[in-house]
């Protein structure tokens, strides 16, 4: 379970998150919607541990433990996974090399034995097949020359391999066509389980037709301004975000 309490974050003298509170229960799929600039991506980066943010106040508790002082790799080992809005291209680092290094690092952090190469390849191939990722993509440098849709599928492949307990999807639907959206959503849905929570960040309700959330939260000006069930997403799609931007500004 993730509990965010009074999280206040500044970047370059600008307050981006302003006393944000949010709870995501174990097994829950929570969606965060909101206009551009409301702080959605910042929230995802702060939970994952990106360094250039200054946390002024608040806590992020994962299963009761404050993770804000942890390094990004320690958070990953604790179960946090961020599917990036813009996955990075890493020239010269082979996709398989990277996947194996990441998986083994996490196994090691958990005190478990590293996978043998055949076992590793078996797992990657199984995950890749379900995400319709061609094998030649796995032979290339990580994300280099991948299309937007391929990069997003590669993020979900990593999620499937690493089996995190708390997954953040940062605008995973951006840049995807209908078919790619379905593949990615199917990949995420396959990972839904009573032990795994999701925080799905999106502008559009469209993704939530495929990944049906348990709860929907509206974010504006650095805090959650309204929470509800899946029906809230439909309401936002119909009416837009204008009223929340105003409300928060008042």
């Amino acid at each position: 379970m993730l509990e965010i309490k009074n999280l206040t974050v500044r970047v370059d003298d600008k307050t981006i998150l302003d006393g944000l509170n949010l709870t995501v229960k174990t097994g829950e799929v929570a969606a965060i919607m909101g206009p551009n600039g409301s702080g959605k991506s910042t929230l995802s980066y702060v939970v994952a541990g990106r360094p250039d943010y200054e946390v002024l106040d608040g806590e992020v508790l994962l299963n009761g433990e404050n993770i804000l002082a942890m390094e990004p790799d320690e958070r990953a080992a604790a179960g946090v996974f961020l599917a990036f809005q813009y996955p990075l291209e890493i020239p010269g680092v082979g996709t398989m090399t990277f996947l194996k290094a990441a998986l083994n690092a996490q196994l090691k952090a958990k005190g478990m034995a590293e996978l043998t190469t055949p076992e590793f390849i078996k797992r990657v191939n199984a995950a890749a097949a379900s995400l319709e990722i061609p094998k030649d993509m796995l032979k290339r440098a990580l994300n280099v020359g991948f299309s937007g849709g391929e990069k997003k599928r590669m993020e979900i492949l990593q999620m499937a391999l690493l089996q995190p307990s708390f997954c953040i999807l940062d605008e995973t639907d951006s840049g995807l066509d209908i078919d790619a959206l379905r593949i990615v959503a199917d990949g995420v849905n396959a990972l839904r389980s009573p032990e795994r929570s999701f925080l799905v960040i999106t502008h559009y309700q469209r993704l939530l037709n495929h990944i049906v959330p348990d709860s929907v939260h509206v974010m504006a000006n650095g805090r959650i301004v309204r929470s509800g069930g899946p029906e809230l997403a439909l309401e936002l799609e119909a009416n837009g975000y204008a009223e929340y931007s105003l409300q928060a500004a008042e």
């Binding site: 994952a48 250039d52 790799d73 890493i90 010269g92 990441a102």
Partner: protein, 442 residues
């Protein structure tokens, strides 16, 4: 009034200058190289050792670095050879033909004796004594003859090898020349390897330079490659000299027509090193790749200086140099591409990229283009920076601890320069060097 100009010489300059007349008549020269030795000695007398006010040496002050001239190494004892062999690690697992040089002297007992057809190898001492006809090829690159490190080698060279690959011969296995210095006290060496690859022949030449102990040795090695028309040459050099060494090295290459030439220098060793490349395109439609991968830390200083001379039209050169600097170390890259007036359709690209891993490190980049022809494509670039924080975060967010994430990125960074090596065993040997260096960081 008479004003007498008195040149003040350093101890090292005095020692080098005094050493030569005493050795002049005992060093083997076979007649052919005697005038070369005399000219090199004259250069030393006239100019002394280069210092920071000499433009080509501005970042690597040889006069300051070479405070004393270490004595020339004697022929190694059996014990020194045994110690050297136990210390020679580079490319130990690669399937290669091997020639070993200990303290600058050919060690026949530690070298292969059965050579494949089409490959002729004569120890330089023997070639000099007997006046081998190929010695006439020495010193073919004019700008090198004006260079202090090259001149010191020419004046004092005593062993090394003359290698000839006969026309049309394609050698299956690389030829590995391993140089190990294992003298208990500091010595200098002056080895010269002349390689003539005849028409249509191909050769993979691998050099490793290792220092067995921590003495402040002064190796100075020169490899001169003459590539006749249609030759294919793959050259790899590893500087893994001992931690106190002052290592000077020069590669000259003169390429005929339709030659394919790749050279990679990997540096991790020596307190201070300078690797110089003088490459001349003397025949049309030739292609050359000159790459470098340098990893330095502590107070190491590593200089790569490159001179590419496009003297004829229709040739292509690619240079890619990667430098990783940790601690208080200093990297230097000086690269000059000259395109002569008639060298139309030249295509030359030079890139130097450095990663600084610490606050105290420094990188000096000096790329230059001198273009006298009007129909050419030439470019150069130089970058210097830290590892990309965004990439580090991405890797760490997947669970890689910082040291592992850095290692992965640095392997990729250096790998770009190393991946040109076609021979799998040799490439793997170099990757081991890189991973070993990176593993020692943490």
């Amino acid at each position: 009034m008479n004003a007498e100009l008195k040149v003040i010489r350093t101890a090292a300059e005095q020692a080098l200058i005094q050493r030569f007349p005493a050795l002049r008549d005992t060093l083997p020269h076979g007649g052919i190289v005697k005038p070369l030795r005399d000219a090199a000695y004259d250069l030393l007398v006239r100019r002394g050792l280069p210092h920071r006010r000499v433009e080509e040496w501005k970042y690597t002050d040889l006069r300051a670095l070479m405070r004393e001239a270490a004595p020339l190494a004697e022929k190694p004892s059996a014990e020194e050879i045994a110690v050297a062999l136990s210390a020679a690690r580079a490319f130990a697992d690669a399937d290669v033909g091997r020639l070993t040089f200990v303290n600058g002297h050919f060690a026949p007992g530690a070298s292969d004796h059965e050579l494949p057809a089409g490959l002729e190898v004569v120890p330089l001492a023997e070639a000099l004594a007997g006046g081998h006809p190929l010695l006439a090829e020495i010193g073919a690159i004019e700008p090198a003859r004006d260079n202090a490190a090259y001149a010191i080698n020419t004046a004092f060279m005593s062993d090394g090898a003359v290698i000839r690959v006969a026309a049309g011969t394609a050698l299956a296995r690389p030829l590995h020349l391993r140089f190990v210095t294992s003298a208990p006290a500091a010595v200098s060496t002056a080895t010269r390897v002349l390689v003539v690859v005849e028409e249509g022949a191909s050769l993979t030449l691998v050099e490793s330079h290792e220092g067995e102990n921590g003495a402040a040795h002064q190796p100075n090695d020169v490899v001169e490659i003459v590539a006749r028309d249609g030759a294919k040459i793959r050259h790899v050099r590893l500087n893994a000299e001992g931690p106190r060494a002052l290592a000077l090295s020069t590669l000259t290459a003169r390429l005929g027509a339709d030659v394919s030439f790749d050279s990679l220098n990997v540096t991790t060793g020596a307190a201070a090193s300078r690797h110089q490349v003088f490459l001349t395109f003397a025949g049309e439609h030739s292609k050359a790749n000159v790459n470098g991968a340098t990893m330095v830390k502590g107070s190491q200083h590593a200089d790569t200086t490159l001179f590419v001379d496009h003297a004829v039209p229709h040739c292509e050169s690619r240079e890619l140099f990667k430098t990783v600097i940790d601690g208080e170390a200093t990297g230097v890259f000086q690269g000059k591409i000259v395109v002569r007036p008639h060298a139309q359709k030249t295509d030359g690209r030079m890139m130097s990229a450095a990663v600084l891993l610490s606050e105290g490190g420094a990188m000096n980049n000096k790329p230059e283009l001198e273009i006298f022809a009007d129909d050419v494509q030439c470019a150069h670039g130089a970058t210097c920076g830290e590892l990309d924080d965004n990439l580090l975060f991405y890797l760490m967010a997947r669970g890689l601890p910082r040291p592992e994430a850095e290692t992965l990125l640095l392997q990729a960074f250096l790998g770009e320069a190393i991946e040109v090596v076609e021979h799998e065993g040799v490439r793997e040997g170099l990757i081991e060097v890189v991973t070993g260096w990176l593993a020692e960081r943490h």
